[in-house]
């Protein structure tokens, strides 16, 4: 399969993620959208890695280490982020981010 398909799919996933972050107000959905963006990038990395390995420029899988790295970081981030959201919900009984405007001015 040509690599362009992967690129277009990644762009589509990434844009969905961006739009979701921008438009949705529910914190959990925003969180999921962030994950979507991260995974769009992961997909792109894997696709390029495969492409260069097929071309014989690099060893197969060497660039895919990045993907694991990103997954680990994302997992850690999810742990922290969900904890924050839980605390926000306990305090405000809501996960609407527009309530969180106390930093204003």
């Amino acid at each position: 399969m040509p690599v362009q398909y992967y690129i277009f799919l990644s762009i589509a996933l990434f844009c969905i993620g961006v739009m979701g972050v921008l438009m949705r107000r529910n914190a959990i959905i925003i969180f999921m959208c962030i994950e979507l963006m991260l995974n769009a990038v992961n997909l792109l990395l894997v696709a390029f890695s495969k492409m260069w390995a097929d071309a014989g420029k690099v060893d197969a899988g060497s660039a895919q280490l990045f993907v694991f790295f990103i997954m680990v970081v994302a997992a850690a981030e999810v742990a922290v982020g969900l904890a924050i959201i839980t605390l926000v919900y306990r305090n405000t009984k809501s996960v609407d981010i527009n309530i969180l405007n106390r930093l204003k001015n």
Partner: protein, 631 residues
């Protein structure tokens, strides 16, 4: 002895330091002793050096003290040059300076202890600066002394600094001098650019091959002359000198006779090679000289302040010296510096004696008949007048005659104008003499009661100077009478320019005729003055017409005020009120207000809406990407 010549300026410097630092502790007699003693000691050293220099075949010697400036290929040593010219000036400065110091011990005795010491400290510093000026072996050293005398003249003219008009006179002197100094400084820069050196013999050696009328040489000559104009009070920078009368009278004597104003003459005589190679500038010097001589003499005709008359006569006599320099008669100019130092110091000190006796009165209309109260002052003053008027046998006759003869050989028009100036000199000097010393006393009774001959520290310098004013001229006899010793003595200094000078020789009969003509006319003018002023009565009538113009000094001060001072003040006011208040202040305040306003606007961006923040972030990243791809 030449090796010890550094003592000559060092001793007055020592006197300055001791008197200046110890002004609160030293008694008046000690201060006077230190002040006069140090200058007297340098006079003795100068005299010993002079006898060594006087020997035939003496070559100029340079006493190197230390390196002053050493940058790249430019080396300016702190060194003294002893040759015929500087040795002669040393004698004049320290000799006349000593007499003025001794005179001052009595004249300034009414001052408080502290200002008495301050006065002597300044006086010593003045002498020190002038000695550095004439002893320096390069133009930068000369410039150090040049600035030094400018500073000291400021300090001494404004000695009574509690009086605003005296302070203004001091500032005027300083500013006028600065204008000239700038020219001198630019001249030095040109010299460094062109020759890469400022040491006298090197500069002259490098200037000579450039030949006549080289543009650089003309520029250097003109710029140096601007400096001389300021220091030696020539048109158009002369107005400070009459105002310098604000200082104590001995200071006027020092400025006019021994130091300061002769600096310009010295500098041009020293740079004779440069000037001989720039005949166009020489012509300018001659014209300015003769114009100043006439102009100042015409003002002196109608002045009523005893010191103002003498001040304008100094300006006029300096004009003669520049005339001599302009026609290439360098030794005649130096000769006139010397004789002028004697009789002008004598006249100033004499006028000081009169002012002292009159209790501070300077208006000659309120004097008169002082002959019988002050016999010594009277006859010494008379000798001074005879000398400056140029009566045969007195020193002024020989020097002025030499200048006029050189002017005649160069251009008879210059001679005629010079002679006219000399006649005016004779007239106003005897007008001054007769109004002051003969007739009957016109002051108050209190003043008449107070009149007395001055004490011996005042009269002894007068007598010495009177003797010198009579016999000082015999070192430079005209050719028809015998040898001109001074010209012969100075000839090594002017030897480098000799190949470029076409010598004018007057026949003996012409010389006799010129001398006879000027003597007869001078005596005639003195008799007219006697006729008019011997029994002078103050009618209190206002002068009219030309006399009024002359009394008001041709309104030159007013003219300068109108064309320079007031426009400058207007400009300053414009800058203060408009540019400063409306321009710079508005700009600075505007920057502050602009920052405040824009930060208030930008503050609104911080809305607390997380969605908006993220949106801004995304937009920012897109912009960055676009920029990154496009560039």
């Amino acid at each position: 002895m030449i090796k010890l010549v550094w003592l000559v300026p060092f001793l007055p410097l020592l006197g300055f330091l001791v008197n200046g630092l110890g002004r609160r502790f030293l008694s008046k007699s000690l201060v006077g002793f230190i002040g006069s003693g140090t200058v007297l000691a340098s006079f003795v050293v100068s005299l010993l050096a002079f006898f060594e220099v006087k020997a035939p075949g003496f070559q100029a010697q340079v006493v190197h003290l230390f390196n002053f400036i050493s940058v790249g290929s430019l080396h300016i040593p702190f060194a003294f040059q002893v040759d015929q010219l500087s040795a002669l000036f040393l004698l004049i400065i320290t000799g006349v300076g000593t007499l003025i110091h001794i005179y001052s011990t009595s004249y300034m005795h009414d001052e408080s202890d502290e200002s008495f010491a301050r006065y002597f400290a300044y006086l010593n510093l003045f002498v020190f600066s002038m000695l550095i000026l004439v002893l320096g072996a390069n133009y930068v050293m000369m410039f150090i002394g040049w600035e030094g005398v400018g500073l000291c003249s400021y300090l001494l003219i404004g000695f009574w600094f509690k009086n605003t008009s005296y302070n203004n006179a001091a500032k005027k002197a300083f500013v006028m001098n600065r204008i000239g100094d700038l020219g001198f400084l630019l001249g030095i820069f040109f010299m460094i650019m062109q020759f890469g050196t400022v040491t006298f013999p090197d500069v002259f050696a490098k200037a000579a091959p450039l030949g006549m009328n080289n543009p650089t040489l003309i520029a250097i000559a003109m710029l140096l002359f601007v400096g001389a104009m300021g220091k030696s009070a020539q048109i158009p920078l002369y107005t400070w000198l009459p105002d310098a009368m604000a200082g104590p009278t001995p200071v006027s004597a020092l400025i006019h006779a021994a130091t300061m104003v002769t600096a310009g003459i010295y500098m041009i005589a020293r740079s004779n090679v440069i000037y001989t190679l720039a005949p166009s500038i020489q012509a300018v010097i001659a014209i300015i000289g003769v114009a100043t001589a006439l102009f100042a003499a015409s003002i002196a005709l109608k002045q009523n302040d005893i010191k103002k008359v003498l001040a304008y006569s100094t300006v006029s006599q300096l004009g003669y010296m520049f005339l001599a320099l302009g026609v290439g008669a360098y030794s005649a100019a130096v000769f006139h510096v010397m004789t002028h130092a004697f009789f002008k110091a004598l006249l100033f000190l004499g006028s000081g004696s009169v002012i002292h006796a009159m209790g501070g009165e300077q208006d000659i209309r309120k004097m008169g008949g002082l002959k019988k109260y002050m016999p010594t002052t009277n006859w010494t003053f008379l000798v001074g007048c005879l000398a400056i008027a140029g009566i045969p046998g007195f020193s002024g006759f020989f020097s002025k005659d030499e200048i006029l003869a050189s002017a005649y050989a160069h251009n008879p028009v210059l001679y005629a104008l010079g002679l006219l100036g000399a006649l005016m000199t004779a007239f106003y000097m005897f007008r001054l003499y007769y109004i002051t010393f003969s007739g009957k006393f016109r002051g108050t009774h209190e003043q008449e009661h107070h009149l007395h001959e001055s004490p011996s520290p005042i009269t002894i310098p007068l007598i010495i100077l009177a003797v010198l004013s009579v016999f000082g001229g015999y070192v430079g006899l005209p050719e028809v009478f015998g040898k001109n010793l001074l010209a012969e003595y100075l000839s090594p200094v002017f030897a480098p320019s000799a190949p470029f000078v076409t010598a004018h020789h007057l026949s003996h009969s012409t010389e006799w005729m010129l001398m006879g003509l000027s003597s007869v006319l001078v005596i005639a003018f003195i008799l007219i003055a006697r006729q008019k002023f011997a029994a002078y009565e103050d009618t209190g009538k206002e002068n009219t017409g030309l006399a009024k113009v002359l009394e008001n000094k041709w309104y030159i001060d007013e003219l300068y005020d109108a064309i320079i001072v007031r426009p400058l003040q207007e400009l300053s006011r414009f800058f203060r009120d408009t540019v400063e208040k409306a321009g710079i202040d508005k700009l600075v305040n505007g920057v502050g207000r602009g920052v405040q306003y824009s930060s208030q606007q930008i503050r609104r961006v911080q809305s607390g809406q997380v969605g908006f923040y993220i949106f801004a972030m995304v937009i920012g990243m897109i912009v960055l990407f676009v920029i990154g791809f496009l560039l």
